[in-house]
Amino acid sequence: MSYKQGDALPELVKAPVSRMQLVKYAGASGDFNPIHYDDEAARAGGLEGVIAHGMLSMGFLGQFVETTFGAGSYKRLEVRFQGMVKLGEVITCRGVVTDIAQENGREYAACEIEAVDSDGRVVTAGRAQAWLD
């Protein structure tokens, strides 16, 4: 599939975020901050309950780039963590192509991307670049 400027990318809808996933992500990523799996620790930190690692939603956006442009196509990924993700949230990744450009004779797509929660609130947003060859 070829993309042009202004194209919306096919959305990626993830399974609801579960505590088991956060425990596994802690192990996979090495981020054992207890606010991501222990409600008491989260409440002590002023939260209502555990929240997902910001990097989990960035991982979903990485998958989104991969499902759109192919594994290994990534050139650059940059995001800002804007909102917290609670347990049970269904994260949807979406984006739009902002430019088709070239570098060293290779074509790439530049996109704006975002992860939104079940209420449509943006939790993580930024830009991605992916090689098109």
Binding site: K24, Y25, L56, G62, Q63, K75, E78
Partner: protein, 155 residues
């Protein structure tokens, strides 16, 4: 607590690690990455990769494996006010299982800004450069760590 400026004078040692198949599979499965290039060697090779391909945010686990290699624990931030504000990755060549990488962390920028309700917010960008055995750049990661402004003291 303001930024502990002594951290800016410090050099953080290079660290090395081997990229393992099992760790790639684990990382891909927990995120729900369903492209078999992360989990199935034949699929990875059929797609032109030498071995299982690491997911795009995989190197996250190597930033602060060892506190001696990482500026983060030495910033002097209050853990209750510390946020991972932004994250960036640049990809220079495919990261696959079996590669031996070297990484090095360095602070590349700092700034302060007045918080909306008074007090100062601090922003520090830590860059991690990962090179392969030939010294070729594989990935660059940049994380922005924020210490939010301290709440105003109760009268």
């Amino acid at each position: 607590m303001p930024l502990d400026k002594s951290v800016l004078e410090r050099n953080f040692p290079e660290f090395d690690f081997r990229v393992e198949r099992g760790k790639i599979r684990e990382y891909a499965l927990v995120l729900g990455l369903n492209d078999p290039v992360h989990t199935d060697l034949e699929a990875a090779r059929a797609a032109g990769f030498e071995d299982l391909l690491a997911p795009p945010t995989f190197v996250r686990q190597f930033w602060h494996e060892n506190p001696e290699n990482d500026p983060m624990p030495h910033l002097g931030y209050d853990p209750k006010r510390r946020l991972h504000g932004e994250q960036e990755f640049e990809y220079h060549k495919p990261l696959v299982a079996g590669m031996n990488l070297k990484g090095r962390n360095a602070i590349v920028s700092t700034r302060e800004k007045e918080g909306r309700r008074g007090g100062m917010m601090t922003f520090v960008v830590i860059e991690t450069r990962f090179v392969d055995e030939t010294g070729e750049l594989v990935q660059v990661a940049r994380r922005t760590l924020i210490e939010t402004a301290a709440p105003p003291k109760e009268a």
